[in-house]
Symmetry: none
Subunit: 140 residues, 4 copies
């Protein structure tokens, strides 16, 4: 059998709070999703003014980052036309996200969860996701 | 145009906290989802030990209750074999939930959101959903 | 709680009538969809001769524009290969439309709904959608 | 953070071998799926002659049993007409299986995975799933 470390709900709340603080700082209301390392949803918040379409997108960014152990913006690069992963964006019924804003959460070299952020530009989404991870790392 | 009242993220947090307190009291870790009155997700928590399958089910119970302005257990009754709504359980790609645990949130006679709870028995899920609504009502 | 303004069915009829008049003027039978600000369908018409496939596309264009508070042709630009939102076209099970013809409906700076048009070229679809919005704005 | 025990691929192979031996004994070629405790697929085999439709059904039985920590035949009982969970069979896009043949795999009181079997009668599927678990338990 395998022994796995994974985020718990307290960790997820810390990450959402950290991400939300950054979103408020840059003035962009966000959808923020946290999954465990298996890609299953642990916690989610749509800030007032966050986009309705971004609910699903944030969840799927977190799912992709956790499940694939890869930042979604890294998929963005390798899935460009002519690149090796071209076309992967529509995989898993469209859940495989290649737009920035999804990051794996790593502790001691192992993925323990994922965070997905959506409603701003992909660069803003990524900044806010990084703030969520930083808040969590500060608790370790 | 229409003027609509809807839950905000602060209301959603109050509901999740109220539901969680009840879940802890009865000793059943739950998935708890809050949607706005349009059925779009506002907030979600899977308590440590909540069922993975219940993530989707909780969200869909809240979606059904808010969107249809009806408790999911009421659908359970009218969708029994021989009853008028028989078969509706598989509507909307299976998102229409007829199992107890989804409740519309009503203020002044208007639906402002929905709460969906899953992981326990349907009766436990419904009790926890009611506790979430009660916590919110106490703030009005 | 939040107080939201949203299109009512009378507004939706005005928008469809405005869009239809433009579609007749340019001689292209269209599918025309109106959603509220949560992306849920309010009204729809497929003019005689409108494309069957465009029923879904028009609805999804309106859903995208309302839910993301963004014209679908703007997504078209930022989702080109090499651009930041590349790959977003397949998000939300493919419902996220990046082809022109979907517009958010804004009143006093807030999105109150969306219109989606499909059956012509993206440029024609967009012109017809704009005509629908103009007809609505004239009633305010 | 949480520390989780889960099946590894060696465990999954033992379970498939045990299930396959039982399937051969009763003369019914089966589809056999093993998931981890998060419901994600670890291993799968369709024996020569196993039903094509049973590929998905076996995977979904294992997903349901692991994710809900419950045997699928238990869902079968509580989801009968008039029972509390009536209608749950179509949840999660129809992935929630209430037909026998899906079992959670438990070690020291915690679910570490799931096994799903399909192609025979539900009773045969369940017998084969139990044989898979028994083979695994013998290795502990």
């Amino acid at each position: 059998m395998l022994t796995i470390q994974r985020l718990d709900i307290a960790d997820a709340r810390v990450m959402i709070a950290g991400a939300r603080a950054k979103a408020e700082e840059i003035g962009v209301p966000m959808c923020i999703a946290i999954t465990d390392e298996g890609g299953n949803l642990v916690a989610f918040e749509r800030m007032d003014g966050g986009k309705v379409t971004s609910s699903t997108i944030a969840v799927d960014k977190a799912f992709t980052a956790a499940g694939a152990k890869k930042a979604t913006h890294d998929y963005g690069e390798v899935s460009q036309p002519g690149k090796p992963a071209y076309g992967i964006a529509s995989a898993i019924g469209g859940r495989l996200m290649v737009v920035g804003g999804g990051l794996p959460v790593e502790v001691d070299g192992a993925v323990v969860g994922g965070i997905g952020v959506s409603s701003g530009t992909p660069a803003q989404d990524r900044d806010v996701a990084e703030a969520g991870i930083a808040a969590f790392m500060a608790t370790l």
